[in-house]
């Protein structure tokens, strides 16, 4: 299931968050070769200290992680405006209530292959974006600015997402980094759901699981 882990819920979700930081290290440091701060087997940066919202794809008990990304409001400090103000000024420009940034989007190909063998990594990225669009729509967000690799752009296009690429830059790792502005609307949700074959929401608002309540 797709849900969000907010700052107030960090403590009760230490297991899955630690798994997320390990996945980020494997994806962004090991595979993509980004210059990200690594502590042990985890990737943790400054923005993690600002109480961001993590959108995670987990098993219903929130123990196994399949994918994750980080959401932050553009009215505050954001990674995109700090890191890309020189290389992608038009992508870094967004700053307003109702505009959020999504960064560190990644999927765990191993856990997905084990538990969802018929699902392609591409479809997994599409589902992660659909969940993001649904989640943001439910929270009054109108636009999400997100970075992605060129390969993922094609996945987003095939998922019928409505977005403009507003920047692209080299020099951050093995592949160029792209930035897109994604429309968050009923129209965007229904287009994506239809294309990905869903009639119901994929996103589930967070609620403490029975197991966490018992703890």
């Amino acid at each position: 299931m797709f849900t969000t882990i907010k700052e107030v819920n960090y403590a009760e979700n230490e297991v899955v968050l630690a798994e997320m930081f390990r996945l980020r290290k494997r994806v962004f440091h090991d595979v993509l070769g980004w210059d990200v701060p690594v502590k042990g087997d985890q990737e943790r940066d400054f923005y993690g200290s600002l109480g961001p919202v993590y959108l995670v794809w987990c098993d219903p008990e929130l123990q196994v992680l399949y994918a994750s990304l980080r959401l932050m409001p553009t009215t505050g400090p954001t990674l995109l405006s700090d890191v890309f103000s020189d290389t992608m000024p038009n992508a870094a420009a967004f700053s307003a209530p109702g505009i959020w940034e999504a960064t560190r989007s990644c999927v765990d190909v191993e856990s997905l292959a084990r538990d969802f063998p018929s699902l392609s990594p591409g479809k997994a990225f599409g589902l992660l974006l659909l969940a993001t669009v649904e989640c943001c729509l439910a929270h009054g967000i109108e636009t999400v600015v997100a970075n992605y690799e060129p390969r993922v752009k094609r996945i987003y296009e095939r998922s019928s997402a409505i977005f403009d690429e507003v920047g692209r830059a080299d020099g951050y790792g093995k592949f160029p980094v792209c930035c897109g502005a994604f429309e968050i609307s009923e129209r965007a949700v229904s287009r994506m759901r239809e294309r990905l074959g869903f009639s119901e929401p994929v996103f589930t608002p967070y609620s403490a699981t029975p197991r966490q309540l018992a703890a």
Partner: protein, 242 residues
Amino acid sequence: MHNRLGSMKPAPSVCEAVWKADSVETAIETIRTFFSLHHVTCHLGFSNSSIVEAPYVKSTYSSEWLARYLLKRYLLVDPVVLEGFSRRLPFDWTELAVTPEAQALLADARAFDVGTCGYSVPVVDKSNRRSLFSITANMPEEEWRRFTAENGGALVDLEQIVHQKAVIEAFGPEQRFPHLSEREIECLSLIAQGKDSPSIALILGLSENTVRAYLKSIRHKLDCTTMAQAVAKAIRHRVIGS
């Protein structure tokens, strides 16, 4: 006291005094005294649409003359102002073309003893804010030319200081205009030309949602609730043309 004809070449003392002046008024009075000038005026950020921006003027001119100048709307015909804000180099007032509309102003200026000679220094800063620094004197033209030739450099330096002080007085101490990206400036310019979001989206090859996101970011950064207000603010700060 300094002689009016004396060359003021190194003028660190007057620069410092102007810097330390507690207001633009004190600063221009300091300059006037130092050079034994008749009058000194600082005119900041003139824009053609006075609705958008009330003129900021500090001057040693008599209050009677300033009142008459305002009452007669001389600002709209004054060749010093009209040409001065489109010039970049300092200029003597004899260089200006005098339109028929300005004749009344000139006659009036003589009657109010504005000064027989005039010289102005235009300034533009990084934020594209402009000001015009004007000095006048009552002296033979040849003597005046020698004075401005000898002191032109010092006057330019002094005007930079007065400009900075005037900007702080007029707009407040926090004068860093929010940074707008090229795309945001494009959107704002198109809004100023009367385009709506769908047209801007077509022109820039973006989706309407992205254009709306840029416009919203602009309003947020400029602390404006409407695009009209944002356009006015951007023109006032010379981020886009009027």
